[in-house]
Amino acid sequence: MGGPVIQVDGLARTFRTGRGLFRRSSREIEAVKGVSFAVERGELFGLLGPNGAGKTTTIKMLITLLLPTSGQARVLGHDVVKQARDVRRKVGYVFGGDRGLYERLSGLDNLRYFAELYGVSPRESKQRVGELLELVGLTGREKERVEGYSRGMRQRLHIARGLLHRPEVLFLDEPSIGIDPVGARELRATVKHLVDAGTTVLLTTHYMFEADELCDRIAVIARGRIVALDTPAELKKQVTTGSVLEVDVFGLPDGLVDRVRAEPNVQSVVVDVRGQAQVLTVHAQPGTDVTQAVMGHLEGSRYGRVVTREPTLEDAYIELVNAA
């Protein structure tokens, strides 16, 4: 099949909440305000945004759990409203947190149950469950009840559950939330492995380094609208600041911050106290280097670490979201 695997055009969703028993009043909340994007086969597409930006609502419309108020979306060529069952057969959904599993059943029984729901044949189911337990590192623990699992183990079981029917498109909604750094790293490795094997992945996350490391392209969503959509490298370039200079100074001279700020290519200056040191962070104008000028002002002062770094995806994200 040619064309994008996920095609979203002007998708919107409004929630109506009611309150009061006799004098009933309702309020409308526009969670998603007409987003459009396309995801190509084999791509790992990130949806980044603050809480309440509309990420989960967008995903839930794409996997047919919510009906859009307006707009259209197709997943693998199937309309998410009119051909919901066709979409459901081919997509997997994994969300973060403790919920979504049967606590009183073992990990193995959970997988057996969901394999039945997806019509995986008994012979394939046994083999597939074994493979997935191996993939997510739960072999040997599969007969224990889920209520005794750690959060990381539950999350890994979620991933296995979402992959039982070999979905062509996998929706991961903040899958690394609340799991420890080692678990998160293993999760990123698993996601990479899936993409390498040809699965298309739509990922939402709060963690910038995760998005930076994994995603081919990222859509930044804020207040229900997509405010930027590009590769992580291009998004970083959209930041209006240039390189960032950080210097650990021990005893910052009076008036130095104002003198540095007055330098022609300096965009902003921030001082942060870390232990004995005062960390001077200087954001330069794009395409300029202010290191020599700043170090000139520090002659005669005691300083330690001097680092020049490029703006991170987090710098870009904060700037985009704040501007929305």
Binding site: L66, G97, E103
Partner: protein, 257 residues
């Protein structure tokens, strides 16, 4: 064939889940005994004896099955919603009504225990003569009644897909069904306008079949009606569940928030 397998595996796993709480287990052990004790004492006090007491035993055992299903069926989907699995059930490519069959069937199976407990309690604590005239037909009637009650429970559960507070419906229907289905009171004693309602409730026919088998009459016509109405619930459940799932997707009630 796949659907039968799905129902069988899901029923077994649901049964496993429901039988793992010691607290729930203790309650389901004691609950039918309270029913049976109350009813046997009432009937004894009214001077009932012989076949009347056997009929009361059969009726009170059906009450136990129905109570196990009615109160829990409606709450089951709210529990699924709370643990975040309701969305995953809807997300599966199976017809939603089919997923409810093993759910309510597992409850009815647990309720079926009350059948044995009630009859044994009646025999040993109250000395009631439990002489079943046609044991094979009786067991078959019990199986069909359990299935029919599960299907009725499924109809109640469906409303919980769309309405988060619909679990109260199960509790509200528990006692009226005891009466309307003639578990304890003869349907002929009910007002005439209630009788059509009794006729469309599958447990009415199930209990009638159980009583017929216990007393040596033919249970087959009652059993056929019971199966027919239960199958009708299945058809209604399929249609209504489609509407409810669609409405829940429109109103965003599948998740807790």
């Amino acid at each position: 064939m796949k659907a039968v397998r799905l129902v069988a595996v899901a029923w077994w796993l649901q049964l496993k889940m429901r039988s793992r709480s010691a607290f729930d287990g203790l309650l389901s052990l004691l609950y039918p005994m309270f029913f049976a004790t109350t009813i046997f004492m009432m009937f004894r006090h009214g001077g009932a004896a012989g076949p009347a007491l056997l009929s009361a035993a059969v009726g009170s055992s059906a009450m136990g099955i129905w109570s196990a299903v009615s109160t829990t069926a409606a709450f089951a989907l709210q529990t699924e919603r709370r643990q975040g699995t309701l969305e995953l059930l809807v997300l599966s490519p199976q017809p939603f009504a089919l997923l409810l069959v093993p759910l309510t069937l597992s409850m009815a199976t647990i309720g079926a225990y009350s059948m044995a407990a009630t009859l044994l309690w009646g025999r040993f604590a109250f000395g009631i003569d439990i002489a079943i005239a046609d044991p094979v037909a009786f067991v078959l009637s019990v199986i069909v009644t359990v299935f029919a009650i599960a299907m009725l429970g499924m109809l109640i559960a469906i409303s919980s897909i769309r309405y988060r507070s619909a679990w109260a419906l199960g509790a509200a229907l528990e006692m009226p069904v005891w009466l309307i289905c003639g578990f304890l009171v003869a349907i002929s004693d009910l007002p005439s306008w209630v009788r059509p309602l009794s006729a469309v409730l599958a447990p009415t026919w199930g209990v009638a079949a159980m009583r017929a088998a216990a007393t040596g009459r033919s249970p087959w016509a009652d059993l056929a009606y019971c199966l027919l109405t239960a199958a009708g619930y299945g058809v209604v459940a399929v249609l209504v569940s489609r509407v409810m799932v669609h409405s829940a997707r429109a109103r965003a009630t599948l998740a807790l928030t």
